[in-house]
Subunit: 335 residues, 2 copies
DNA sequence: CTGTTAGCGCGTTCAA
DNA sequence: TTGAACGCGCTAACAG
């Protein structure tokens, strides 16, 4: 593989000039710049990432940390991030962290600290204090998507408001017996500020505001299967709810499938609303609160690039849009 | 950030010994190794990736090249790769390439050549000769999943056999008017050996073997929407098929939804079979040829790690398992 | 088993 | 505007 001195020799200049010509930093006459570029092209020369990083301290790579790769929301946000970063010549280094504490520690203590990345984006990651500290300790820009974290610059939708919006939609239709499918607050590490918890809080408060005391919550794990099971439990109860608010579209779809399996029609017999804007929702006529996942990724990429360009980190929390999309899975309760 | 000499000073040894102790290469007494490790832990020292790479030529990172991030098959395979690689301490650098030639060239000519990765895994990528050459030119192990490519070591299911298996299943049930939803061979760059083309060939040949001449193909783009549209076209034709073989589960699900929308029951009025093993298939009772996507990723990771450990590249093509999973969306045609 | 030394390939001073 | 020379942080070869 051709090195910088091959290019220098071929162009009849010094390596310093090659470096300046190709990076654009420092003065180079147009003529020599062209000659250098031609030589580089002819030789197929590409700057070595490690040598360049070692010399400059910059890597032209951004680390993206995700808890899941194979769930719709995460892969969609990731696609948005990728779009935004690739255009600017950045590579993405992917860190998938599970719940396993040992593996998590490996990622936060080792992998992320190898000085391989110029910035970090996390997606819906619930970090403990030590992990947040480790991230900050990296000394690079950090953007946390969908993880309201007092210790980090975050970019997040107002999930409390999302919970309120979905609940208000059902209340406005006249529903009073509503079950929420999602996080039930029983999780051990729940700080109350996780995305699932906030959606639930929005639900509970909206009900309270409307004078409904009974806030029914069925725990589920954000999969179709979990949503289906939770909905089945609710709908087969003695006094079943007239509406279901699922904290994700995947669970909402599970709920619709469960309702169908029980011989119930949606929305005639039971209304269902979700959150996400999952592409599949369209096929189920699912009413949802869209949070524009791909846009979140693009936005995070833009924010990170800004900070790498020297912009000040957005103070506190960037706020992300959301919107009710009514596709027909909700209707007034039956008389 | 602590450097290697900080550790050396604290442990009372030379930097070379620190390097040896932490990397495990070269002889170090147990006692000093422990002292060095303790010092490194105390200082929170982690080897700088760029410095280490520059010195060794190894990066401990694997590049993964994908055409899509937000489609089930790709994110699932990616999850499998990640699992396999993270366990062994490798990072993943993600390269998402679109159809756009300029962007593709940037990825193949620049990004991949920055000497940032020790190996490459591609997922269902159709590469032209120049791109294949560029990959080979990297001089690193390459494993191509699901892209039968004569120029590369590939790991792929026998998609011709997959097409045959699905078609045979329908033929065995007694179907004779079968439409294939997928690639119609009209694509410009189709070499005839792409995954979609092979599945279609399997379909066509199976029919021919059974003495059925009319091989009906409806083009679709591997999305639910595309599958739905193609199925609608087929099922509203003058003499509609009694069975549909979709080249992916997403299209098969679209076909089921389209059939329902037309008031047709599956499988009573029309049988549907897909390919993939998409998790959603279960909820639609979709009969499919499962290809164990996550396992493909794990297998590719293992193969790459083997080659990095010095094993010979698997000659020719590694073969991946597939299996018919009957969930009830196929049945004999109506009398 | 351990220390010394010379690069790995590039970016960036500082002089010219 | 250009070139020479040093150093980024670590590893590998060689001595001891």
């Amino acid at each position: 593989m051709a090195g910088i001195d091959d290019v220098a020799r071929r162009a009849g200049v010094s390596t310093a000039t090659v470096s300046r010509a190709l990076s654009g930093r420092g003065p180079v006459s147009a003529a020599t710049r062209d000659r250098v570029r031609a030589a580089a092209d002819a030789l197929g020369y590409v700057v070595s990432a490690s040598a360049s990083s070692l010399a400059t301290g910059r890597t032209r790579a951004v680390g993206v940390v995700v808890p899941f790769l194979d769930r719709w929301f995460f892969s969609t946000v990731l696609a948005g991030i990728s779009d935004g970063l690739v255009r600017r010549g950045y590579d993405i280094t992917l860190y998938s962290v599970s719940e396993d504490p040992a593996e998590r520690r490996r990622v936060f203590d080792d992998h992320l600290r190898r000085q391989r990345i110029d910035a970090v984006i996390t997606i819906a990651l619930e970090l403990d204090a030590a992990e947040s500290a480790h991230l900050r300790g990296l000394g690079v820009p950090i953007v946390a998507i969908a993880g309201p974290n007092p210790l980090l610059t975050t970019l997040t939708v107002d999930d409390l408001a999302v919970g309120r919006l979905a609940t208000a939609h059902l209340l406005d239709l006249g529903h009073r017996r509503i079950a929420h499918i999602g996080d039930d607050g029983a999780g051990s590490a729940d700080t109350g500020s996780s995305v699932p918890a906030l959606r639930r809080h929005g639900f509970v408060r909206s009900l309270a505001d409307a004078g409904v005391d009974d806030a029914w919550v069925e725990a589920a794990d954000f999969t179709i299967e979990g949503g289906s099971a939770a909905a089945t439990r609710a709908l087969t109860a003695a006094a079943p709810p007239t509406a279901l608010f699922a904290a994700s579209d995947e669970m909402a779809i599970g709920a619709i499938l469960a309702a169908r399996a029980l011989g119930l029609r949606v929305p005639e017999d039971v209304s269902v609303i979700g959150v996400d804007g999952h592409e599949l929702g369209r096929w189920f006529g699912l009413t949802t609160v869209d949070q524009f996942a791909r846009g979140q990724g693009e936005r995070a990429a833009a924010e990170v690039l800004d900070e790498l360009d020297g912009a000040e980190p957005a103070r506190g929390r960037g706020t992300l849009p959301f919107e009710l999309v009514d596709r027909g899975s909700t209707a007034p309760p039956r008389a």
